[in-house]
């Protein structure tokens, strides 16, 4: 094809500056396009390296397809070269490519075919960021390119404004001409204005989910690209100037709604990027940046602050108020690519709500933006709060190193803290070393000090464990949490621990601190002394030889592969099947698990405790989920769910006891007996009666069936179970009709100490009656958290003096309770076991939870608050019986109905006495307080061994 030939479909404009090493790859990715009707125009921004030579050769090799333009002087930005390229373009469509990136092989064809099919002015495809060092790929804003779709205008999808790249898109050439779309030539972020202009004026915008663009990301490289150097003042200045240009375009072509969307994007994205790491900037720079940003941020309407995500909104609001400390604390807590996130602000409670700090609360907007009650600092487990500690001093005294630091105490939750400094080899928690730390409260923070003496210093192996994690482990309020450490650079440089590696000091002689990519401190092996330096030098010399380098690289790969393979499910299963399950059976071992390791609770707990009482010889293993086993008994073997230790225990155990299901892919060996207690009788359809499982293929159903067929006995509390639950689940195990062990205490009431302790813990000190609200599980609430289907304000107003309400979300759902209600409402999400909560409660409000069957045993009032009854029971899930017909209490559909029912609990009890008796007779027939004992007698204390099936 020569230039006299017909117009190519696509012109790809490639811009380059001093990138001789990569430009050929970029150009080749265009030449390799499956759509052959394309041309490349490379515009060189006056490079000073080999780029022109490389390009002249390429242009000579492909005279019809590659055109090379060299700008007479360097422009310093991407705008001028792109404009120069477009000016020479012949294609019906235009694309842009940067010299360090590549196009997917089918990019042009997919984009052109969509453009022709949809008649759109621009078509957007997926951009994938590729970390050059690791090869890791992440999709750029994947939610924008999920499906093939055509938008009539930007108004149909304002979120497109988030994607400001000009590169992953195809533009109709006529469209660029018609709208006079050109790049700014004297600013960074020229993409932003160009993209906004294009979005606002395009007649149609089409999307395809196919990858079109490979964005090669080199971290920590000397040649930082513009977007990586986003922090300096000049960049912020340009950003603001560009954003003002975009505002002008929106004013001309757009709508107020689009302006709002853009403002939100500016707060959540642009401003956030520029303020990242704000706390580490010198004070003068901080002030300078505030001065630049403030006038613009002042012009943003209050609505954008209210609608943006909470933390970026707080940061932007602080800019508006010129509050440097506020900006710093908000950015400290923002978790991102470059930040682990740590709490440094002092939260305050005002009028029953929680605020980010005590400043700006007299400004109505400040009050709204800084209100962080919904973020749950007051209720979430400490491990979810991103606590962080700042090192304040490092002192060396001979071989000993003393560290001190501070931890911000959120709302005084770190009660009676204990702390230790912990370090462990990355990827091998068994090489873990602990030093006790002294910790004390100091106002709204805690200060701690720890001394690492040579005797207590970590003992690395050398070579194989180059990196160590380093945290402050804090135990407080019954929870253990690892707190990341942070420090100023000078302090990090000072921190190193002398060590004696197992492989001698020739390998290394200290663990020195460094700042990870996310900003927290970790330790790495290093050499300081003569011997170690010599050893280190010898090794680096070896590594600089070709053979040595190859071996070293190979060793690294082998180690990484091994690690990855060990983490893979298939490897774990192979160990489980071929090794652990073939070890001799440990006849005394019983593995307990409740709700997939989330709790120490329910019938497994009741059986475990009965077993302890019985004096039968056994070895208990409890499985826990999460980082630390918070709330589990201290005197049993604890294994983390899905760890190798867990698989080993399961593979060898004589008994498995759980209430939901050990991992489905673990086969049960012949010598193991599986006692499945289950966790509730059924109202909703279960197992193969559920729509989702009904719709499965036979392969999927067979897998579920074989997981269920591992059960040897299945506990039943009523014949209703046999008709519904076990039939729906196709349980072929023996039904043990003994009732639920967890319900023994409901009948026997023989745990007064536990109940009293729990009352104390929940501060139930007066004689108000206690209500327990315990709704059923709704999967969508995993993300949103529990939203109460009645008005808490009204509840507190009407009943606050009479009742205390305990709110119990499902264990997978969170709930944030404003402190304003603390007098009459408690969040009991973090209490492991619901049974003692039922014992405390004078009445229960539920909807469809199986808790109804258990609580009924107590013969106390039950209220069914079911605003969504028709939807929930009618069409979506289906039920085994008609709740309205048999419920031992009223069904309420509105808040008013609920509150009416609550006014007189005694009357309620009387009114439903008859139905209550019938309900218990039907659904609790085997619950007689002896379930745990029956299980223990059958399997553990009687002379004969219990049922065992293959």
């Amino acid at each position: 094809m020569t230039s006299s030939h017909p117009r190519p479909d696509v012109t790809v404009v490639v811009i380059v500056y001093n990138d001789a090493a990569r430009i050929e790859t970029a150009v080749q990715s265009v030449l390799d396009q499956s759509l052959r009707s394309r041309e490349v125009i490379v515009v060189d921004d006056h490079s000073t390296d080999d780029t022109p030579r490389v390009m002249e050769r390429l242009a000579a090799q492909h005279p019809d397809d590659v055109k090379f333009i060299r700008l007479p002087a360097n422009s310093g930005h991407c705008g001028a070269p792109r404009n120069a390229g477009v000016a020479q373009a012949r294609g019906r469509y235009i694309m842009f490519l940067d010299s360090d990136d590549t196009l997917d092989r089918h990019a042009c064809r997919n984009l052109v075919s969509m453009a022709e099919e949809s008649d759109a002015d621009m078509v957007i495809g997926r951009c994938v960021r590729i970390d050059v060092a690791t090869g890791k790929e992440t999709s750029w804003m994947p939610w924008l390119v999920k499906d093939k779709v055509v938008y009539e205008s930007l108004r149909d999808e304002p979120e497109l404004l988030y994607d400001v790249l000009s590169t992953n898109k195809l533009y109709r050439h006529d469209f660029l001409k018609r709208e006079n779309l050109v790049f700014l030539e004297d600013r960074y972020y020229e993409d932003n204005v160009f993209s906004a202009h294009a979005y606002l004026t395009a007649k149609k915008i089409a999307i395809i989910p196919q990858r079109v663009y490979n964005w090669m990301v080199e971290r920590g490289a000397a040649t930082l690209s513009i977007t990586n150097r986003a922090r300096d003042v000049r960049n912020l200045t340009d950003r603001i100037a560009v954003t003002q240009k975009i505002d002008a375009l929106i004013a001309r072509y757009g709508t107020p709604e689009l302006r709002l969307q853009k403002d939100i994007r500016f707060i959540e994205n642009d401003l956030r990027t520029h303020l990242t790491g704000f706390a580490e900037l010198p004070e003068a720079t901080q002030q300078q940046m505030l001065d630049i940003a403030r006038p613009y941020v002042n012009g943003i309407g209050p609505e954008a602050f209210k609608q943006a995500k909470p933390l970026p909104a707080i940061a932007a609001y602080m800019v508006r108020e010129g509050d440097a400390e506020g900006v710093a604390t908000a950015h400290d807590y923002l978790t991102g690519k470059e930040n682990r996130g740590r709490l440094t602000t002092t939260l305050v409670v005002r009028d029953g709500r929680i605020f980010w700090c005590d400043r700006h609360l007299d400004d109505p907007l400040g009050r709204e933006v800084l209100d962080v009650t919904e973020l749950g600092f007051q209720d979430l487990p400490l491990s979810k709060l991103n606590l962080g500690s700042t090192l304040t001093a490092v002192r060396r005294d001979g071989g000993a190193v003393t560290l001190s630091g501070v931890v911000t105490d959120p709302l005084g939750r770190l009660q009676k803290p204990k702390a230790s400094l912990v370090t462990w080899a990355r990827g091998n928690r068994r090489r873990q070393f602990t030093v006790k730390a002294a910790i004390e409260p100091a106002g709204t923070t805690l200060t701690w000090t720890a001394t690492v003496t040579p005797a207590q210093a970590p003992r690395p192996i050398g070579f194989v464990d180059p990196i160590y994690s380093f945290v402050l482990r804090v135990k407080a309020a019954g929870e253990t949490v690892d707190v990341n450490l942070f420090a100023a650079p000078e302090l990090i440089d000072e921190l190193s621990l002398p060590v004696k590696p197992v492989l001698s000091r020739l390998v290394a002689d200290r663990l020195e601190a460094y700042r990870t990519d996310k900003g927290n401190i970790a330790l790495r092996l290093a050499a300081e002394g003569k011997g170690a330096k010599a050893g280190g030098d010898a090794i680096s010399k070896l590594r600089s030889q070709p053979l040595g380098a190859r071996l070293w690289g190979k060793a690294g790969t082998v180690r990484r592969d091994l690690r990855e393979r060990l983490d893979k499910r298939n490897t774990k299963l192979a160990w489980y099947d071929n090794v652990f399950s073939r070890m001799p059976i440990s006849r005394k071992t019983v593995v307990f698990e409740s709700h997939m390791g989330k709790q120490y609770s329910d019938s497994p707990r009741a059986i475990y405790e009965e077993l302890k009482r019985s004096g039968a010889p056994f070895r208990a293993v409890w499985a826990y989920a999460g980082e630390h086993p918070n709330g589990f008994p201290p005197d049993v073997k604890l294994v983390r769910r899905q760890s190798y230790a867990y698989l080993r225990e399961l593979g060898r155990a004589r008994y498995w006891v759980d209430n939901q299901g050990f991992p489905h892919d673990l086969r049960k060996r012949a010598g193991t007996t599986y006692i499945q207690t289950w966790h509730g009788s059924a109202f909703k359809r279960m197992g193969f009666d559920e729509a989702q499982i009904k719709a499965q293929t036979s392969g999927q159903q067979d897998k579920l069936q074989s997981a269920i067929d591992r059960f040897d006995v299945f506990l039943a509390r009523t014949e209703h179970d046999a008709r519904t639950l076990t039939k729906g689940m196709r349980v072929h195990a023996e039904l043990m009709r003994v009732g639920y062990p967890r319900n023994d205490v409901l009948i026997r009431q023989d745990n007064p100490d536990e109940v009293a302790a729990l009352r104390k813990q929940l501060k139930l000190t007066d004689d108000r009656k206690v209500l327990l609200y315990a709704p059923t599980f709704r999967p969508d609430q995993i993300k949103t958290g529990l939203e109460l289907p009645f008005d808490l304000d009204e509840f507190v107003e009407r009943f606050g003096d009479k009742y205390v309400l305990l709110v119990r979300p499902h264990y997978l759902v969170s709930f944030a309770l404003p402190p304003a209600y603390a007098h009459s409402v408690r969040n009991v999400a973090n209490v492991h076991d619901v049974t003692p909560l039922m014992q405390i409660a004078d009445a229960v409000i539920t909807d469809y939870s199986s808790l109804m069957f258990d609580y009924a045993l107590l013969d106390r009032p039950l209220i069914f608050h079911v605003p969504d009854y028709d939807d929930y029971v009618g069409s979506s899930r289906g039920s085994y019986f008609d709740l309205a017909e048999v419920a031992p209490g009223p069904l309420t559909r509105t808040g008013d109905e609920l509150f009416a029912a609550l006014t007189d609990l005694d009357a309620l009890k009387e009114r439903y006495a008859e139905r209550h008796r019938a309900f218990v007779a039907r659904f609790g027939e085997y619950d007689n307080g002896n379930a745990a004992k029956a299980v223990v007698d059958r399997f553990f204390t009687s002379g004969t061994q219990g049922a065992r099936r293959g």
Binding site: A107, K148, P209, V212, A695, Q696, T697
Partner: protein, 375 residues
């Protein structure tokens, strides 16, 4: 009229009994009618052969004389893999010979991924290469076909799914050479139903994936309330006995429901007023297209994007129900039983919308695709 091309359609077996082979013969005929030179190639002989007629305007070839052994998991797998690689090389050599005779602009279509292995090993230089997934992305994902498609379709010019939604799923999974091509509707109704017959009908193979068990459960919730209405299931299959037993347990009369295999689709569809599609897995169900062509409203589980591509819920073609939601299917059937106007409205709208899958429009789309891939 587009330039005539050499078109090779490669399937597992050309005369196998099945929807895919029916499709292959249908499009071979349609392409031939437009003047293209079509060769329909099977990799191996059929295990359950069916007569697709003779005197075809296209050539039919089978690469191997014998049924090839499948690779099963186990210790002897590497050995068997080697012996199959030898056989495959022989088949690929025959394919290469045929491909070499093609004029420039020729097209190779691997209609199934197993057959695609042979295409991948043959020399396709100068030809347009296409691979097809005649099932939903989800169904591929649940089988080994997902990984094999990633391998053997990766270097083809394009990998065609049945719907845009399925192609999007493949694109999200990382394949970029993906597009969509629906099946053509080959049926022209001889007799149109009046929508007054009190019959719900389905024509299905009696196997787990077709979900007749769920239809029976749903019918047990509705049927007894409308004693003059009948459910008729045409077809046979491995689960027949179990399904008859299940019907009995549900209190239904299995002799009234199960009609056995029929060749006369026209009679079955024209004597019904509602079509039921209780499948667990589908691609782009021809059964629904046929029902639409007859103006029958369909009640279907939303088991694949192909369902929604055909049925616009509540608007045209019928009603769509969450997969496995038996009470939901019962409720939808009941709505249609009670409301003739709804049957007519959905049926007529469906009859209109299914026209875009007429043989002519589908072949136009194919020819446009060939032109795009040659650009």
């Amino acid at each position: 009229m587009a330039e005539p091309r050499d078109i090779f359609i490669v399937t597992n077996a050309v005369d196998e009994l099945g929807g895919l082979q029916q499709w292959a013969h249908d499009v071979s005929g349609l392409f031939s009618a437009r003047g293209h030179r079509v060769r329909l190639i099977g990799v191996e002989p059929a295990s359950v052969p069916r007569d697709y007629g003779s005197d075809k305007p296209y050539e039919i070839v089978t690469l191997h004389d014998h049924h090839l052994p499948r690779l099963k998991k186990g210790l002897s797998r590497p050995l068997r893999r080697r012996s199959r690689a030898r056989q495959q090389a022989e088949g690929a050599r025959r394919l290469t010979e045929m491909f070499r005779q093609a004029q420039p602009g020729g097209v190779v279509i691997a209609a199934q991924v197993w057959a695609g292995e042979w295409v991948a090993k043959a020399d396709t230089t100068g030809l347009i290469t296409i691979g097809m997934s005649h099932e939903s992305f989800e169904a591929s994902k649940n089988s080994s076909r997902y990984n094999r498609a990633r391998i053997y379709y990766e270097d083809l010019d394009i990998h065609l799914a049945l719907t845009d939604a399925d192609a999007d799923s493949w694109a999200r999974a990382g394949m970029t050479n993906v597009g969509a091509m629906p099946n053509p509707l080959m049926t022209t109704p001889a007799t149109l139903p009046t929508l007054d017959e009190k019959t719900v009908v389905t024509l299905r193979r009696l196997s787990h994936d077709k979900g007749i068990d769920m239809l029976l459960e749903a019918w047990a919730l509705v049927g007894p309330h409308y004693p003059d209405w009948r459910l008729k299931v045409f077809g046979s299959g491995p689960d027949e006995e179990a399904l008859r037993r299940q019907a009995g347990e549900l209190g239904l009369d299995d002799t009234q429901i199960f009609q056995g295999q029929t060749e006369n689709i026209d009679a079955a569809l024209s004597a019904a007023s509602i079509y039921a599609l209780p499948s667990r897995e589908e691609g782009f169900p021809i059964a629904v297209m046929e029902a639409m062509a007859y103006g029958l409203p369909t009640v279907a589980f939303d088991c694949a994007p192909g369902i929604r591509e055909l049925i616009h819920d509540e608007v045209s073609g019928g009603l769509v129900v969450t997969p496995g939601n038996v009470p939901g299917m019962a409720a939808a059937l009941e709505r249609l039983i009670k409301d003739k106007d709804l049957r007519v409205r959905l049926g007529e709208a469906g009859q209109q919308s299914v026209k875009k899958f007429s043989p002519d429009s589908i072949v136009d789309r194919w020819e446009a695709l060939f032109a795009l891939l040659a650009r």
